[in-house]
Symmetry: C2
Subunit: 389 residues, 2 copies
C-alpha cells in the first residue's frame, strides 16, 4: 500500500509534466518506490516507471538481481539483470541494455525523463541514451520523486524517530570518548560502533555521511574527515553525525571543547543557540523556508553577526554521499511552504575564520508548529579535562 | 614531487589525446592530483588541469575552500570557491561558474575533456557545460587519470600495506564477534570500530564500501548490507571488508560458518581456495589480466564448476561508492598487461543459487611474481558454536 501510494503520486507528477517513462537512478528514489536496498549503486542501475504500467522495472547488474528479489516488492518479470560484460566496460554500457529494453517495449517514441542531476546518473549514461533513442523526447526529471519524498508517511516518521534515538546515543558516546590526548580516529570508531549497533531493540544502518569531527582551526572546514591528531585542551570540536534506520536519518551536530572554551567560543555558542531557537519558533505549516532562515538571520544580526546562507535542508531517506533530499532549503529565496510531516535538518554554521560553531536540530513540521526529533542538550558542550582532574 | 610526477603523467596523456583542459570530478582523481580530501563530493566540485599551467585549479563550494587549503598543495590563487547560492539550486548550477571561469581564461575555444562516466559528474553538469561552451571541442576523459593510478608509487604501496594491516585486524574482529544468536548489526559495529580505530601506530580512514556480510540464502546476493537478523548455526556468512589508510584500500573477503558447514560448503571452499591460488600462481609482469582469469576458470572447471565472469579489479585510492579503480579487470577479454606495482583485489564469487562462497586475496604484482597484501588464513572459517559448548 505504502509503495502503491508513492507510485501513484509519482505517476501524477509524470502526467502533469507530460512524461511517459521515468528513469529513476537516485538510489534513495529507487528504494522509495521499490524497496530495493543494496550497496550496488557503484554500478549503473535504475528503476523504470512507465506511466501506464502497474509495476516499475528494476535494471541492474546480474550479480545484484538476487538483492532485488530479497528487498523489493517487484515480481520476477520486473527484475531485469544485465550481463557482467556490461560492467565498467569500454565497449558496452548498461544504458545500451536499457535502450534495447525501451525499444523492445515500444517506448522509444515516447517522452522519457531522467534525473539529470542525480548522483550516479553520469554524463555518459545520458549520452548513450541520447545516441540510442533518436526518436524519444527527453525531459529533466531531476528531483521529481524527491519532491514527493518531502512529506513523510507515518511509517517514515517512525523510522526517522528510531534514527534519532541512535543519533542521541552516538553523540553521547562521542562526548564520552572525547578527551585531551585521544586520537580523532578513536572517537570516530566509538561513534561508528554506536551508529551501527544502535539500541537493544533495533540496530542501525550505515549513515549516508560518515561522522565529521573537525577540530581546532579545522572547525572552519566542516567537511574534513578525521585524522590521527589528538584532541588538545581548549580546542573546539564540531561533531556532526546521524543515526540511520532503514536508510532514514535524523542528523545532529554539536560543538564541544575539552577543558575551558575561550570567551569567544562561549559567546558564539550562545548566539547559535539563540538563533536556532528563534528559527525553530517560527516553524509551522504555511510558513516558507526563507522565513525560517530570516528568523535565524535577524537573531544573529542582533548579536552582531552577519551571514546569509543556507541553514538547513529537507532530510530523510538516503544513501551516500548525502542525507539531504535536494528539495527545500532553509535559505533566502526558497519559498517552499512548510507542511505537516516535512522533516528538516537545521544546521546553521558560524565560521569566524579561525574557528567554527555548529549546534543543529532536526525537526518535523507538525499540524501547529514543530517537534524536535533529537532529544539532546542544546549547548556548547564543555568536557572536563581528565588530564587535569 | 609525488604530485608533480602524477601531474606530468596526466599532461602527457592529455597531449597524446589532444586535450588542452581536463575537468577532473572523480574524488579519487582529485585527491591523486591535488591531495584534496573531504566529504564534499555530495556537491559539484572539480579540479581543472590546464596542459600549459603548473598547478591545477580547485573549484568547489565556498564552505569547502578551507578544506582545500588544509589538504591540498595548491596555492591560494588556485582555490576558487563558488557562492552558496549555486548549491542544489534550480536556477544556478556550479557548472555555470566553471564555464565562466573557462571563458575568462580564454579556454573556451580549446579541447576540453570531462570524465563522462565518473561518479558525481552528472548528465546535468555535462549539459550545462555543453550549453555554455559552444566553441569548445569536448572529449571523453573517463578513466584517463585512473589509468595513471594503476601503477602505484612506493608511498602508495606503503599506504596500501597499512590498509592491509587494518583489514586483517577487522576480519579477526569479525570472526571473534560472529556467533549464533548475534545480530548482523552488532558484528558490523565491531568491524567498523576496528576499521576506524586501526592500530596503535595509525588509525584507519572510512572505507569506500561498508562491510558486507550477507548470510544464509542472502550469500547469493553479495551486495546486501546488514540487518538485525541473528546468525544461525550452519548458515554461511560472507564477510567482505577493507581497511583504509589515507584513502587506500586492501580488501579482503572470507566465508565463515557458525557450527558445522555442510559438505557442499566445505567442498566449495576447497574449490575456491584452489582456484584463487591457481590464478595467483600465474601472476607476474607480462601476463595479461585475462590469463589470470583463465587460470581460475580452468581450475574450477576441473572441479566441475562452470562460470565466466570478472574475478577481480585494480584497487587502491578511492572514495565511496567503490574501491575499485575502473581500469583493469581480471576477466575474459581484458588484455591489460601486468606490470610491477599494480595492485588488484581478486574476488571470485561462486554462487550456487541457495548459497555463495567468497575467499579473496588482494595482491601486488612484483618484479617476478606477486605478493599477497593481506596475511590472513585462506580457508572457509568454521566458528565453534558457543551455544553448544
Amino acid at each position: 500500500m505504502e509503495y502503491q501510494k508513492r507510485l501513484m503520486k509519482t505517476k501524477q507528477r509524470m502526467a502533469a509534466d507530460g512524461i511517459d517513462v521515468l528513469l529513476v537512478t537516485d538510489p534513495a528514489n529507487m528504494n522509495y518506490l521499490s524497496g530495493y536496498d543494496a550497496w550496488s549503486f557503484y554500478v549503473h542501475q535504475l528503476l523504470i516507471v512507465m506511466i501506464d504500467e502497474e509495476q516499475p522495472y528494476w535494471i541492474g547488474r546480474g550479480l545484484d538481481a538476487n538483492a532485488a528479489r530479497h528487498t523489493s516488492w517487484l515480481d520476477e518479470d520486473h527484475i531485469l539483470p544485465y550481463a557482467d560484460h556490461y560492467v565498467q566496460s569500454t565497449i558496452r554500457h548498461p544504458m545500451d541494455f536499457v535502450s534495447d529494453f525501451l525499444k523492445e517495449r515500444k517506448r522509444d517514441k515516447q517522452v522519457i525523463a531522467m534525473e539529470l542531476d542525480a548522483y550516479y546518473f553520469t554524463a555518459k549514461s545520458y549520452l548513450k541514451l541520447a545516441n540510442n533513442l533518436l526518436d524519444s523526447k527527453f525531459k529533466d526529471g531531476t528531483n521529481l520523486v524527491n519532491w514527493i519524498r518531502i512529506i513523510k508517511s507515518d511509517q517514515e516518521i517512525a523510522y526517522i524517530k528510531k534514527a534519532a534515538q541512535i543519533s542521541e546515543k552516538a553523540m553521547g558516546v562521542a562526548y564520552e570518548a572525547l578527551n585531551e590526548g585521544v586520537r580523532e580516529s578513536d572517537v570516530v570508531a566509538e561513534i561508528s560502533h554506536a551508529q551501527i549497533s544502535g539500541t537493544e531493540e533495533f540496530g542501525g544502518d550505515y549513515p549516508s555521511i560518515v561522522p565529521l569531527i573537525p577540530t581546532g582551526e579545522k572547525t572552519s572546514a566542516c567537511h574534513l574527515t578525521w585524522t590521527d591528531d589528538v584532541f588538545k585542551a581548549g580546542d573546539p570540536v564540531i561533531i556532526e553525525l546521524s543515526g540511520c534506520y532503514q536508510r532514514y536519518h535524523s542528523p545532529l551536530a554539536r560543538t564541544a571543547v575539552v577543558g575551558s572554551p575561550s570567551e569567544e567560543m562561549r559567546h558564539l555558542g550562545d548566539v547559535v543557540v539563540e538563533g536556532v531557537n528563534s528559527a525553530l519558533d517560527v516553524v509551522k505549516p504555511g510558513i516558507t523556508c526563507e522565513e525560517v532562515e530570516l528568523a535565524w538571520r535577524n537573531s544573529i544580526e542582533r548579536n552582531g553577526i552577519k551571514k546569509e546562507s543556507r541553514i538547513g535542508y529537507s532530510v530523510g531517506l538516503n544513501y551516500p554521499p548525502d542525507w539531504g533530499e535536494h528539495t527545500a532549503s532553509l535559505r533566502p529565496g526558497d519559498r517552499t511552504v512548510l507542511e505537516p510531516n516535512m522533516t528538516f535538518h537545521m544546521i546553521p554554521t558560524i565560521d569566524i575564520g579561525h574557528a567554527g560553531m555548529e549546534i543543529s536540530e532536526s525537526f518535523r513540521v507538525t499540524e501547529t508548529g514543530f517537534e524536535k526529533l533529537n532529544n539532546f542538550p542544546q549547548e556548547l558542550y564543555v568536557k572536563p579535562n581528565i588530564r587535569l582532574a
